[in-house]
């Protein structure tokens, strides 16, 4: 408990420091706004979770009712699924998500992909995070561009700024402190030292503002996904906290031993999302959680109990306003003639059409502004929301 008292003191000092730097003119005006966080916080909240490495959509949401399923994925390699509807099931490791689905708080989008059609993780992630219609045509992120058009601020629970948030003035990064700054004097003098170096000054001011909102978080245990998700929920719940959070986790590139690996990783993801919800406490009703990945994986097993890079996969949208309890899909089928290149689940739904209504609800953008966030994206999946 002494710990949290300490951080409260830190918090007050940092507020004073922020104000002091402002008064002294050490921080540029635009930056100072950023440092002080969200000026007019709305009730609407958004959490984006990126699964890097390409989650196998057919493992997370198996199409057990598809006539080709047994031949493709049947057998002992595949754990028995929790039922969703006559066609789809859910991986048994996603028990919380399954419960949310039954409670109509989670929707599944299947056979979904960005417009990227090659099989490079790195290009696919660049395209997904930038929001372009091809890799590397945009160098800022879609979330960043949406933030710029609004007074919202965001925090990424990562040491580095994810591309999706690059280009925003009010985007922060945060990970648990291993050892909080001992001396406020040292921190202040370093902040002053950075005054001539805008990128460093800006980064430090942002970090210090975020520290204000993470009272007591230094004493939290671990930097695992669940801990990070809980911190994210706490930040989003703070009265003047950020309203957008970004989480990411790698390791989904399951070229081998897929069943065992997903048997560990999906429950960890499930646990983290449950932790997020818990820490959001009363705010779940106005929160949307988007879980996405850069592409799907090959429909059939490869030769090493894994799957190789594919095309379409799955996305999850959860929250209090989501028209849950359904699988949004124009299911292409798993028969060999239906597969893309004879190997991948064929994409029938554009991931950007899923992102669009989520951006719209969170940021209330004009058509023009939306076009700058996701240029060229059309046909938003508006059915995502409960009427």
């Amino acid at each position: 408990m002494t710990r949290s008292k300490f951080s409260r003191r830190m918090h007050l000092q940092q507020l004073a420091l922020g104000a002091g730097l402002l008064a002294s003119g050490l921080l540029p005006a635009r930056l100072s706004l950023a440092a002080l966080g969200d000026q007019t916080p709305s009730e609407q909240r958004l959490v984006v979770v990126l699964l890097r490495g390409a989650l196998d959509g057919l493992a997370a949401v198996p199409a057990t009712g598809d006539p080709a399923w047994e031949a493709l994925r049947g057998g002992t390699e595949t754990p028995p699924a929790l039922p969703l509807d006559s066609t789809f099931g859910m991986h048994p490791g996603l028990a919380h998500l399954h419960r949310w689905y039954l409670n109509k708080e989670l929707a599944v989008v299947h056979a979904v992909a960005s417009s990227y059609r090659e099989r490079s993780h790195f290009d696919a992630q660049q395209q997904l995070e930038s929001g372009g219609d091809r890799p590397f045509v945009l160098s800022t992120g879609w979330l960043a561009r949406a933030l710029q058009a609004t007074p919202h601020s965001a925090v990424a629970m990562t040491p580095a700024m994810p591309l999706a948030l690059r280009g925003a003035d009010r985007a922060n990064t945060w990970t648990p402190n291993r050892r909080p700054n001992k001396s406020q004097d040292t921190l202040e003098r370093i902040a002053a030292l950075y005054a001539d170096d805008l990128p460093l000054a800006s980064a430090l001011a942002q970090a210090m503002a975020q520290q204000d909102k993470s009272m007591g978080a230094e004493s939290a245990t671990g930097a695992g996904l669940t801990a990070l998700a809980q911190h994210a929920g706490t930040f989003l719940s703070a009265p003047r906290g950020p309203r957008v959070a970004w989480l990411e986790v790698g390791g989904w590139d399951t070229h081998s031993q897929q069943t065992a690996r997903l048997g560990r990783m999906l429950p960890a993801l499930d646990e983290a999302l449950a932790g997020l919800r818990e820490s959001l406490s009363g705010h779940w009703a106005t929160t949307t959680v988007l879980v996405m990945t850069e592409f799907g994986r090959s429909a059939a097993w490869n030769g090493t109990q894994g799957t190789d890079h594919g095309t379409a996969g799955v996305a999850f949208v959860a929250g209090g306003q989501v028209a849950g309890g359904q699988v949004f899909t124009d299911w292409p089928g798993l028969g060999r003639p239906q597969l893309r290149d004879g190997r991948d689940l064929r994409p029938t739904q554009d991931l950007r059409a899923v992102i669009m209504p989520i951006v719209q609800r969170q940021f209330q953008l004009s058509t023009g502004a939306m076009n700058a966030v996701l240029p060229g994206a059309t046909q938003p999946l508006d059915a995502l929301w409960r009427a």
């Binding site: 922060n172 990064t173 909080p180 040292t186 003098r189 001539d196 210090m208 975020q210 190789d308």
Partner: protein, 452 residues
């Protein structure tokens, strides 16, 4: 004077005395590729031993034998590998020893630019201890496959990096089986295209070179048979019974059945025009600036092609080009490990508390030996300079100030290392520090030290 700064800080790991290279910084850099300091592998394990240690750990994790815990468990919390078994202690010790040796070399080498060159290639051919089989393999890959070939031909480096057990395990080729091979027909096993795709995309040609999914599949077939084993030997072997029979065609070129196809393919990939362009742009981006001038990239690529990928000649082309020494390129933000190493070179101290230092580097965003993907660590300033990263570097600087600041004069240290490149504000901030510890914290967290 600026050239001296670039040689010391941008191309190297920061020299404690800028004056020592001031008379001819270019020659100081170029001479390092003539006589790079040798890396001492005394006492380090080979990959066969690493494989044995790994197998012991995996075996212990699968069949846990309850051991009476005499000591309170202060070790890292349990993870996928379970409790800290004796086998895991050996693994941890081995990896720490490898890291220690590596860091002592990086902090003390007389040829720091050549060492940066080694680290560039180790990251280019990234392997990570992110799966069970590679837990002990990352440092052996660096000293067995990368270091001995970093100044030879690119093709030889490529071959060594690809067929090292670490890579075959990391990118799953060790398990990949030709569907029509003897083993493939007998068992329900087959291809894994992980290594094939990354060989084309990350290691040689780059993603836009125009290869197709069929080229990837054919490459995967050609690579079948290259595996680790048999059983416990932990060395690379070509196993005929896993190899996909018949010829393969990759990027329009036919390759025969058998182990000899590997060298033919790697030679062709190394000579592909896209390979030279890809390597040159990565090198210039890493050593010079985030957006290097096209003329510089072109010059390096031309040298790569002209010399058939002679890496020493490529280094000379890069570091003797005027554009590499231009004053107005925006600086780069150091990676966390570069920061740790340059701090110790400036302080002229050995890295102590290896595990603790590794944890600090991880806290600053770089979990050593556990790069997040086969692409290795990213290289742009934007990939590293974030609010959290800056705060963590300041916390690190504060801690290292406490550790080393009492017996160092940070004013002198920074004056010696940066000379006229030390800003007035940094010099003054350090001079006005309330203690040696705080002065060193300012030095290590200064823009001069965080950037290169």
């Amino acid at each position: 004077m600026h050239a001296t700064y670039l040689a010391s800080h941008r191309f190297g790991y920061s020299e404690p005395q800028l004056q020592t290279l001031a008379h001819d910084p270019r020659s100081w850099v170029l001479a390092q590729f003539e006589r790079p300091a040798a890396f001492d592998t005394e006492g380090l394990i080979d990959s066969a031993k690493a494989w044995q240690i790994t197998r012991d750990v995996l075996k212990a994790a699968l069949n846990p034998t309850p051991t009476p815990s005499a000591e309170p468990n202060t070790n890292p919390p349990q993870d996928a590998l379970g409790p800290m078994t004796p086998a895991r202690k050996v693994l941890r010790q081995t990896n720490l020893q490898g890291l220690d040796k590596r860091w002592q070399h990086m902090t003390q080498t007389t040829t720091p630019v050549a060492e940066r060159w080694v680290q560039f290639w180790a990251n280019h051919f990234c392997v990570a201890a992110t799966k069970g089989s590679t837990l002990a393999m990352v440092w052996p890959h660096e000293y067995e496959a990368i270091r001995p070939h970093a100044w030879g031909s690119y093709k030889a480096l490529l071959r060594a990096a690809i067929v090292h057990p670490a890579m075959l395990l990391y990118l799953d080729n060790a398990q990949s089986i030709g569907p029509q091979s003897l083993a493939g027909r007998r068992r329900d096993k087959g291809l894994n295209e992980n290594l094939a795709r990354e060989l084309l995309e990350l290691h040689t040609l780059g993603v836009h070179a125009g290869y197709t999914q069929e080229d990837v599949t054919q490459t995967a077939q050609l690579l079948t048979g290259w595996t680790v084993g048999p059983n416990t030997s932990g060395v690379t072997r070509f196993m005929e019974n896993l190899h996909q029979p018949g010829p393969k065609t990759i990027l329009g070129t036919p390759y025969p059945e058998g182990p000899q196809a590997l060298d033919l393919l790697l030679t062709d990939l190394a000579r592909h025009p896209a390979c030279a362009d890809f390597m040159a742009s990565k090198l210039c981006r890493h050593f010079v600036t985030d957006a290097p001038p096209a003329a510089l990239v072109q010059a390096v690529a031309t040298q790569f092609r002209r010399t058939d990928g002679d890496l020493k000649a490529v280094a000379v082309a890069l570091f003797s080009h005027d554009l590499a020494w231009q004053e107005n390129h925006p600086p780069k933000f150091k990676r966390p490990e570069e920061c740790l190493i340059s701090a110790h070179r400036l302080m002229q101290k050995k890295v102590i508390h290896i595990e603790n230092s590794a944890y600090w580097v991880q806290t600053m965003g770089q979990a050593l030996a556990r790069a997040p993907s086969p692409q290795g660590w990213p290289d742009l300033s934007a990939d590293w300079l974030s609010p959290d990263a800056v705060l963590k570097r300041i916390q690190w600087a504060e801690r290292y100030g406490e550790l080393h600041g009492k017996d160092l004069d940070a004013r002198d240290l920074m004056q010696q290392a940066f000379g006229t490149h030390l800003s007035n504000s940094t010099a003054q901030t350090i001079a006005r520090a309330e203690s040696g510890a705080q002065a060193l914290a300012f030095a290590l967290a200064s823009p001069e030290h965080l950037r290169r």
